[in-house]
Structure formats: structure tokens, C-alpha cells
């Protein structure tokens, strides 16, 4: 180990003091944001158009300061969660491959039944798996494949539910908006987003509701909207002048939500949302939700849902109540999502074992493989013990 922790002591102390001094400044900004939330609560309609142009949250018909308390939780409903993880291709490894593993849990509230768990690993090793238009599939390209695998898994599980079971909520960890950051070609972006939207269509057809859950969100779309409101909706000024709330996350504003309550619904200003999702009826909405039980500090999550779920009172209530019910099982995070993550997670020893399996399979097939020199020396230097145990 070569990180000299003793040399960081001073820096860590300074960091602690600096962060503490920011607290008061932060509190003042929260107060300002909440004042604006109340002051401009009824100006949603005037703000709708300029909000989109500066990537601020787009108001819906609900006043900005809306607080909706926790709806009644159905006695019986099904909560399906999916999460994925991946092994990136390693050009220094014995062979070039990637792995996507999707874990999922079907939890039937009030049934007294054992939840159903699934884990689906998929290995990518063929040329067509590994390359897209000459580029190695890693980073964001692999993230997109994982997101597609997650939503497909949810759609499959929703389709497997008994017909007419409308009391089903399907939830992914993260966002419902496919982030195709590395995709510059429009047609390839369209193909991928369309594949994602096809799965949302499948879920809609089953009668289930779908949502995405974001823990400790850092988005600043609502605070940007509030700043815009303070400028009487002047998008030009909002784009040019410094926004005092620029780094204040939306969740700080909504920490005033009572336990179990949600904020107003907003529409995502994401370009991909407006370019592809809206036309298919999946316009992504979101709200903030306080998951904490009574007498506990607020725990704010961001929930994303398509228009057909946001505009259907029953589906919206089911998503709201279902996520809170799930989160309160363990404390402040949906139980089924925690389990789906556990089922998807690929541990270090599992990665090593898979590498050994691949090496063995290649040897059986008569192919001799070896780590790159760089990878080989890492195995030597990183497993030694050069200091006292911490």
C-alpha cells in the first residue's frame, strides 16, 4: 500500500472545517428556495415553456408547492424490482469479454409467500457483442446494454404476472431516461432508445405501473425552475446571470415534506425525453418523496415515471404507496431493490473465478492465453502486504 494516509491528515482536517462552514450558507439557500417555492407556486403554466429551454424542471398542472400525503397502501400488491451490474471488457485479461448480470425480485405484499428471486448473467464475447461500429463496447455503451437488460427483465416479469393483476409496480434503480452519452450518430441513438421504449410499452400493456428510484438525488432541476420563477420566467436572464441556487440539490428543498408525502409532479427537461419519449406517450415525470417514518430525519428520493402512470391516479397512488411501503421494511430504501442489487452484484472473487473459468475453457479448446505484462505485474504488486494492517 502506497497511499500515505499520514500526509492526508492535515488536508482532511481542513476539509472538515470548510464543509462545516458551508452549512450555514447552505441553510440560507434552502430558506430562499422554499420561499420561492411558495411565492411562485401558482406560476407553473407561465414557466412551462421557458423552463424547458434552460433545462429546468417543467411544471405540470399541480402547484409547485404541492404536498400529497401518503395514500392508503393496498393490502395486496406486487412489487417487482430489477437491477444490473457488469464486468467491463479487460484488454489486459486472458480473453476479451464482458458480462451483464441482472438481478430481480418479485415481492408479493400481504401474500405471506416467499419472494421470487432471479439472476440472469449474459456473457458477451462474439465480435458482434464486443464491437459497435468498430468501437469496443465498454463504458456508456455497456451501461446502455445493461439498462436495456434491466428494463427487459422488468417487462418479462410483468408479462408473467397473472392477467388482470393491475396492482403491480415495477421499479428500476436509477433513471427511466436512457443515457446514450457516447452515441453521436442519431440513427444509432434512436435504435437504442426505441428498444428501451418498446419495453416500456410492454409494461404498459400488462397494466402494471413502472417507475425509477433514485436514492440521494443530486439533480438541480427544480431549484433552476425556482430561480427562473424569481426572474419572472425570463429564460435569457436565467441562462446568463449567476444562479444562487445552482449547486443546491432539489432534495434539500423537499426535506420539508412530511413523512411519506410526495412533492408536486414535474416533467423532465431531458432532451432525450422530449426527442423520443414524449411522442410514444412516455413523457418522463418525476416527484420527490420523503421515505422516512414518523419522527425520523427526512430521506428524500426522486421517483421517475412515464406520463401514462403519472396521469393515472390509481397507478400514481400505487407507485407512491408501494415505494414507501417497500422502503419502510428495512428503513429508508426499497427492500426489493436492495435484494435485486444483491442478486446482480458481482464480487471480486466471482470475477476472478469467472476469469479462471474462461482461461480453462480456452485451454480445453486448445488456446493458450496469458495476462498482459501490465496485468501480470499488478497481480504481483497489489496482493502483497507492505504495511501494517489498518
Amino acid at each position: 500500500m502506497t497511499l500515505e494516509l499520514s500526509r492526508l491528515t492535515k488536508q482532511v482536517q481542513v476539509m472538515g472545517k470548510k464543509l462545516a462552514s458551508r452549512q450555514q450558507q447552505y441553510a440560507d439557500l434552502v430558506t430562499l428556495a422554499r420561499r420561492w417555492l411558495t411565492q411562485y407556486a401558482d406560476q407553473g403554466e407561465q414557466l412551462r415553456h421557458p423552463a424547458r429551454s434552460i433545462h429546468a424542471a417543467i411544471p405540470t398542472g399541480e402547484p409547485l408547492d404541492t404536498i400529497r400525503s401518503l395514500p392508503a397502501t393496498p393490502e395486496r400488491f406486487t412489487f417487482i424490482a430489477a437491477d444490473g451490474s457488469q464486468i467491463q471488457p479487460n484488454r489486459h485479461g486472458a480473453a476479451l469479454y464482458h458480462l451483464i448480470n441482472v438481478g430481480s425480485l418479485v415481492y408479493r405484499h400481504g401474500s405471506g409467500q416467499t419472494p421470487e428471486q432471479h439472476s440472469q448473467p449474459t456473457l458477451g464475447y462474439a465480435e458482434s457483442d464486443l464491437y459497435e461500429n468498430g468501437r469496443l463496447v465498454d463504458g456508456n455503451l455497456l451501461d446502455v446494454r445493461r439498462d436495456l437488460a434491466e428494463i427487459t427483465c422488468l417487462a418479462d416479469l410483468c408479462a408473467a404476472e397473472p392477467t388482470g393483476n393491475s396492482q403491480t409496480v415495477a421499479v428500476v434503480d436509477g433513471t427511466l431516461i436512457l443515457w446514450t452519452l457516447d452515441e453521436r450518430a442519431q440513427d444509432r441513438q434512436r435504435t437504442k432508445v426505441t428498444a428501451y421504449l418498446d419495453q416500456l410499452n410492454r409494461i404498459r400493456e400488462t397494466g402494471a405501473a413502472v417507475a425509477a428510484f433514485i436514492s440521494r438525488p443530486r439533480r438541480t432541476e427544480v431549484t433552476r425552475l425556482l430561480y427562473l420563477a424569481s426572474l419572472e420566467g425570463d429564460a435569457n436572464r436565467a441562462a446568463q446571470e449567476p444562479n444562487p441556487l445552482e449547486r443546491l440539490p432539489d432534495r434539500a428543498v423537499f426535506e420539508m415534506l412530511p413523512p411519506g408525502a410526495r412533492s408536486a409532479l414535474f416533467v423532465s427537461p431531458s432532451e432525450i425525453n422530449h426527442k423520443y419519449y414524449v411522442a410514444e406517450g412516455h413523457n418522463i415525470h418525476f416527484f420527490y418523496l420523503n421515505l422516512a417514518p414518523e419522527d425520523c430525519d427526512p430521506v428524500i428520493a426522486r421517483i421517475e415515471l412515464p406520463a401514462w402512470a403519472a396521469e393515472d391516479a390509481d397507478r400514481l397512488a400505487l407507485i407512491h404507496a408501494g415505494i414507501v411501503a417497500q422502503a419502510r421494511i428495512a428503513g429508508d430504501y426499497p427492500y426489493a431493490l436492495a435484494r435485486a442489487d444483491e442478486l446482480a452484484f458481482i464480487s471480486g472473487p466471482e470475477r476472478e473465478t469467472l476469469d479462471e473459468m474462461v482461461t480453462t475453457a480456452l485451454l480445453h479448446a486448445g488456446v493458450r492465453t496469458a495476462l498482459s505484462p501490465k496485468a501480470y505485474y499488478k497481480t504481483l504488486t497489489r496482493r502483497g502486504r507492505r504495511s501494517h494492517r489498518l
Binding site: S111, Q117, G331, R339
Partner: protein
Amino acid sequence: MSNGNLKVGRVLRASTRGFVIGCRVMTPNIPAFGSFVRADGLTPQGTIYGLIYDVSVEDDPFVRQFISADPPDEVVLDQRENRQIPIEVSVLAVGCGDDGAISHCLPAQPPVTLDWLYQCNAEQVRAFTARFGYFRLVLEAREVPADELLAASLRAGAACRPERERETFLVKAGRELARLLAGDPVRLEGLLRRLQNEGAI
């Protein structure tokens, strides 16, 4: 040898003095402390006999979340049946068999990893406890609660016999204990008291 009997679990680690097996779920069928179990030996007709001296349930931080949370039934079932919280059963080796002949001694070789461990049926327990040579192995084992284990094994041995034979069996066992622990009357008294408290004698 291992035909049609209740499987307890597979061997995780082993030595000639004993072994540890892992199982997924605790059920009423999982044998309790003091039960006789057996694993296949390395020869075709070979058997290794043991006594369960410890059953431990492992935990993890996720399970600990629910200790004071009064979890719903679905969560309890999920944690018990889906999440593989390991249950480890420790076994003291007390004998071995070869083609039906039982010796009360340590096995020449331990079972190997992932061998099945089976619960002994009544006939096998009767055959093993027909003699008391294994008492010394238990009494001398330092890593186990020896006296409790021996008393539990005798209760198991008595329970596998017809009611009319139980008292005779226990009296014989008591005499053997008196012989082995002649130099340690305090320990002998404690052991006999354990059997009396359970109504075995």
C-alpha cells in the same frame, strides 16, 4: 452405504478429529446437538461416524437491519429461503465403519469437501451405541462441550431402543462412565446428574 437417508448438508472443511458441514435452511429435520451422523469414507464400504456438537447460524449486516424492525412474513421467508445465510454444523468424529463393522476410533482419513453428511437412522444408532468405546473420544475432546455432548448422545441412543431396553442401556453406560471417570468423581456426578435431569435415568 448412504442409501435413502436424510441428508444434513455437505462437508465444508474436515480433519480426522471432526468436520464442519454447511446447510442452507434450518428445518425440524436438521439433526440437533448430540445427534449421530455419518459420512461416506474413502473406501467403497467405509463410513465415518460423528456427533453434532455445535450448530451456528451466520449473519450479515442486511439481516441485522431486521432484528428490531418486526419484518413482514415475506421478508422472513426471503431471508430464510432465498438468501443463503450459512448454517454451519460442527461434528466430532467418534468412529468409523467398514462393511458393517464399527470401530470407535478416529477415521484414518476425513471426508472430503462437498461429501454429503447423513443423519443416522435408529438402527445405525443402536449399532453404534452397542458398545461405549466412543466415550473416551468425547471425554477427551477439548474443543467440544464434552459432558453435555455425551449425555445428549446417550439420550439419543436410549431413544432409538425399545422402551423396555432403555434403562438397561443407560445403566450400562453409567457403569462405563464410572469406570472411565473413577479419578474424577465430581465430573462423573455432573454427567450422571445431566442424564437424570432429562429423565433418561
